[in-house]
């Protein structure tokens, strides 16, 4: 009997050692798996630029948002965007993290109007580049809003979705 009890205790302790999860996982507040961490928006836009075929582009920050787009910086948590600086191409890559999904939706509406205005200007100025504006990708993803005016907006979108 003693041997049986000893053996049973041994089995129990071994089972405990092999079946326990780390405390933080077992006692997670809601039992939900931890979220995948998103990259900073500056890294996302840089990855898009690096991964695509772009003309000369310069990086801009939240400080330039208001002057470039007239977009109120209130509600913008993180901002990164690239533009063609020389005035020779309409390419723009914008990734904003907003304070909420509602703010992101508002910003997306803003960018839709912006892209339409730019389309009118570029149609008269350089028609060969107009397709980039006609195929502009403007979308939201949770708190994120993006605008991709470039030769391959779908590729930019793919890189973005892999990063958030």
């Amino acid at each position: 009997m003693k041997r049986i009890k000893t053996l049973l205790l041994s089995v129990i302790f071994i089972s405990l050692l092999t079946s326990c999860k780390p405390a933080e996982d077992v006692f997670a507040s809601d039992g939900v798996a931890p979220e995948k961490e998103s990259k900073p928006v500056s890294e996302i836009t840089a990855a898009i630029i690096e991964g695509g075929d772009f003309p000369e582009m310069t990086a801009k920050t939240a400080d330039d948002l208001e002057y470039k787009y007239g977009l109120d910086a209130d509600g913008v948590v993180e901002a990164s965007f690239y533009v063609n600086p020389a005035g020779t191409n309409p390419d723009e890559i914008v990734v904003l993290k907003m304070a909420s999904a509602d703010k992101a939706a508002e910003a997306a509406e803003f960018f839709e109007k912006y892209a339409q205005e730019r389309l009118k200007s570029w149609r008269d100025y350089l028609p060969a580049e107009v397709y980039k504006l006609e195929n502009a990708v403007i979308e939201t993803n949770g708190d994120y809003v993006v605008m991709f005016i470039c030769g391959d907006g779908e590729k930019a979108k793919e890189i973005f979705e892999e990063s958030v």
Binding site: M1, K5, L8, L9, I12, F13, S15, L16, S19, C20, K21, D25, V26, A28, G31, V32, A33, P34, K36, E37, K39, E43, A46, A47, I49, E50, F54, P55, E56, M57, T58, A59, K60, T61, D63, D64, E66, Y67, K68, Y69, G70, V83, N84, P85, A86, G87, T88, S121, W122, D124, Y125, L126
Partner: protein, 311 residues
């Protein structure tokens, strides 16, 4: 007899419930219950996502910030090079060496035409402009002037410019819901470089008249404002015959701007001459591949020259 007694003793030991035995059994029961709880939680909680090692740092772009572009002005980037110049808010200062100390150029007076070389000693154009010098200046222009803020050379709030803008269009244009007259209220000087786009659709004379209208509108709204007109840049020889705007049209327009400046009491600075090569076309190192827009070194030379003449 003894064997039976031994057997009886053994059976007694096997069946007696001593406190130690009871405690041990209770312990085993507690452990079994805890094990059961752990197994239940483990089986019912979702599986953790496949964790991927953060790739931060591994995808750091090869784009390199080059804050000190002045030193590399001679080996200028082309449109195929992706770069990220550092941008800081105004006042900006270019990180150039002290360089040569130019004698102060003659101060431009209203109605005066200032040409390159009048105040210099024939040495290469300066590129060490001070962005802070232009903190009270509004630059009004077309796609060429968008490069001032695009490249981070001038604070974006000091630039009222857009693609396709002409002198006539500038009066009706709004940027961020503000027209040029409204925007100019925040400044004590306006520097205007417009006309190239207009030449594609109208003759030099009518564009020059539109420029006078623009300047007079600004002076009427703000009598004390300083107005400066810049001649428009030349185009490269490789594209002059292809574009609807040729070098001859540009030269004709620039000559008419002299009269417009005199009539409206503006300073006129002939930056076109600064940007030309020996053949009278846009210098190769100042030209984007399209032969019309400017490189960073061109902008720096332009701004430095304007600063020199206005100081």
């Amino acid at each position: 007899m003894s064997r039976n007694n031994h057997s009886l003793s053994n059976s007694k030991r096997e069946t007696s419930l001593t406190p130690a035995v009871v405690a041990l059994n209770l312990l085993i029961a507690v452990i079994l219950i805890m094990l059961g709880i752990f197994l239940y939680v483990y089986m019912t909680s979702p599986l953790p996502a496949q964790s991927t090692e953060p790739s931060r740092g591994e995808t750091s772009p090869t784009i390199v910030a080059s804050p000190d572009e002045t030193e590399s002005a001679e080996s200028e980037e082309t449109a195929d090079t992706t770069f990220v110049p550092e941008m800081t808010k105004a006042p900006l200062t270019s990180d150039s060496e002290p360089g040569e100390t130019d004698e102060p150029g003659e101060t431009g007076e209203p109605g005066e035409i200032v040409e390159p070389g009048e105040s210099g000693d024939g040495s290469p154009p300066r590129t060490d402009y001070e962005a802070g010098f232009f903190s009270g200046t509004l630059f009004v222009g077309d796609s060429i002037f968008t490069g001032l803020s695009g490249y981070g050379l001038i604070f974006a709030g000091n630039v009222f410019a857009d693609i396709g803008l002409s002198p006539a269009g500038a009066l009706s244009k709004t940027i961020n819901n503000r027209g040029v007259i409204e925007t100019a209220a925040d400044f004590d000087r306006v520097v205007i470089m417009l006309g190239t786009n207009g030449l594609a659709a109208a003759n030099a004379s009518s564009i020059s008249e539109s420029m006078k209208t623009l300047v007079n509108s600004l002076k009427s709204a703000y009598p004390g404002i300083e107005t400066v007109i810049l001649t428009v840049p030349p185009v490269a020889s490789s594209v002059s015959s292809d574009y609807s705007v040729t070098i001859d049209m540009i030269n004709e327009y620039n000559s008419l701007l002299r009269g417009a400046a005199r009539e409206t009491g503006c300073i006129l600075i002939d930056v076109s001459a600064l940007l030309k090569d020996d053949g009278g076309y846009l210098r190769g190192d100042y030209a984007q591949p399209d032969g019309m827009h400017l490189t960073v070194s061109a902008y720096k030379a332009l701004l430095s020259y304007v600063q020199t003449e206005l100081e």
